[in-house]
Amino acid sequence: MKVDIVNLTKKFGGIIAVDSINLDIKDGEFVAFLGPSGCGKTTTLLMIAGIYKPTDGDILFDGKRVNNFPPKDRDIGMVFQSYALYPHMSVFQNLTYPLLIKKRPREEMKKEAQRVADMMGIGHLLKRRPGQLSGGQQQRVALGRALIKKPRLLLFDEPLSNLDARLRISMRGEIKKLQKDLGITSIYVTHDQIEALTMADRIAVIKDGVLQAYTDPEDLHDRPKTLFIAEFIGNPPMNLFDVEIKSEAGRVYANLGNGARLAIPESRKLKKLVEGKVKMGIRPQDIHAGSEDGISTEIALVEPMGRDDLIVSKVGNAEVHFLVDPIMKLRMGDRIKLRFDMEKSQFFDIKTELSLLWD
């Protein structure tokens, strides 16, 4: 099913929880709503589900305005962070409840329950109560319950955030595969950027109820349109510096202060501003240590992160984070040279916080 969200707005009393969001979701697409907690993701999802009434704007399913449809007429399935299973019913009853309401024959309920339960790997648990299941099993039941009526739209509200890290990773893959196999249009709310980046076809980044960007993961990562996105996306987070842009002998430099400066390549030519103060961003993995030339720095801190060591040091007046191979065995106080891969650098206007490279 195709979903269109037009100028969708929600106010609770005085506060604006969702501020005029516009989105289109293609049939079969997997879209993630990504943003920090409290930014309005759940509110948006609940408006799409028909639980909240929009203050303004429209929701269209396959071109049809559904603003005034109650949830039961929207043909959706939803998975909640809290699982929201019915504790007084068995797993079988939980799974088949949507079919019971639709007055489906008992035989069909049994068959479907078995099918969905096997798909979710909970076939042996049908007689239990939700209280007797582990968190991961409960989440599978919740997912099964959402799937059993073959909805045309699946909504997920942070479904994995109550699970432990290992289970989260495996469930991530399962949900993604299931969605692709079934081809159901899905909206997946999360505050975890890794979930969004690994699972979604497109990501809607939301901040304070405002849509910041709506694009595919790669674009989001490589071409952040706002300072917020640059800070929010990527792990470890992007380094941000206050730099001064200066042209000298036909070349453009970013001055880090204390004499440290970096040449800006032709590919990163700024749109508007030619000289003056801007924010420069560069991801830790795009700063390379141990080269022959480059900016010299003294290591202030080493944080082992498993595959890499995260190093903190100072360049100019700013703190720099970058990744090195643990084999280098760098220690606090060591001096090394850093080469900034300026082909990957980002620039933002200090006032508007908009990118100076992309729009």
């Binding site: 639980i51 909240y52 009434k53 949830p71």
Partner: protein, 308 residues
């Protein structure tokens, strides 16, 4: 029932859910309030019947103000409310709350459970116990275990000290209300505050004065206002204990007797409802005041489902 009306929209679900309660509240709260004030403006009585009564305006209220018994009933009611409130609903309940929270948890809980018994015991059974406590020698418990051993003159104590007994009978029920509120308030005082004052070396009495009582400000105010109102208007226990004999006819019982007591022959509905109307007015005013002052807003959360 709502299945049909909901169909797609179900915009008026809330109405169907509220309807039964609404009907009952209208019939048994609103209508009676109106009736009370209305009949209090008539001369309706068994003499006039339901047909031949006349509208007499405020005459019943004038009669109340000039009635020779009015002051008596009023004074008795004030005394009764004040004594029961001070000695039991506040005094005794505070003492029990302090004592039961001071001793071991289990035993404290047991004593509080015993104090709740009068509240759940059927009223006639409960009053029967008091009647036997007061009964004449050689049967009555009071005579048998206190008066006689002390060599004093035995008696049937109910007619001898009727006021004491109406206070006791109501007080032993009323005390449990404050007891519950006070003891849970005391138990919610942070442990480290209690510890700190122990370390300071303050005595238990000092702790009561400077730590516990200040914590009980709201419950104390709540119990005082709530119980004043219910003492002022309740008469069931007195009705069973003395039926108003021996000068124990409090205002509410007076009204009840005038309007409904089948013994007096001529029921004065107009006059009786006028007596009741005064209590109803006080009740409405005080109930509205509570609602204002006792954190109503905090108790109300907005529904997090807006679908209809």
């Amino acid at each position: 029932m709502t299945e049909k009306t909901t169909g797609g929209g179900g915009k008026y679900d809330w109405f169907w859910f509220l309807l039964p309660a609404l009907i009952l509240v209208v019939i048994f709260f609103f209508l009676p309030i109106i009736i009370t004030f209305f009949i209090s403006g008539t001369n309706m009585s068994t003499a006039t019947g339901f047909q031949n009564w006349k509208w007499i305006g405020l005459k019943n209220y004038q009669r109340i103000s000039s009635h020779p018994e009015t002051l008596e009933h009023l004074w008795l009611t004030v005394k009764y409310v004040a004594f029961t409130l001070v000695f039991f609903n506040l005094g005794m309940s505070l003492v029990i709350a302090l004592l039961t929270t001071h001793i071991s948890r289990g035993v404290g809980f047991l004593f509080r459970a015993v104090w709740l018994l009068p509240r759940i015991t059927p009223v006639v059974v409960y009053v029967m116990m008091w009647r036997f406590i007061a009964a004449d020698a050689p049967y009555g418990i009071l005579n048998q275990i206190i008066i006689k051993p002390l060599g004093l003159k035995t008696a049937n104590w109910l007619p001898m000290a009727p006021f004491l007994f109406i206070v006791l009978v109501n007080g032993f029920i009323g005390a449990s209300f404050g007891m519950i509120l006070f003891s849970s308030a005391i138990e919610s005082i942070p442990k480290d505050l209690m510890m700190a004052s122990l370390v300071d070396g303050s005595s238990y009495l000092q702790r009561i004065r400077y730590l516990i009582i200040p914590h009980l400000r709201w419950p104390l105010l709540f119990v005082t206002t709530f119980q004043t109102l219910s003492l002022m208007t309740s008469f069931e226990q007195i009705l069973v204990l003395t039926d108003g004999a021996y000068n124990t006819e409090v205002w509410a019982l007076w009204a009840y007797h005038k309007a409904l007591s089948t013994y007096s022959g001529n029921l004065q509905w107009g006059f009786g409802t006028a007596l009741a109307a005064i209590l109803v007015t006080i009740g409405i005013v005080m109930a509205v005041i509570y609602m204002r002052y006792f954190k109503f807003e905090e108790l109300v959360q907005e529904p997090k489902i807006e679908t209809q």
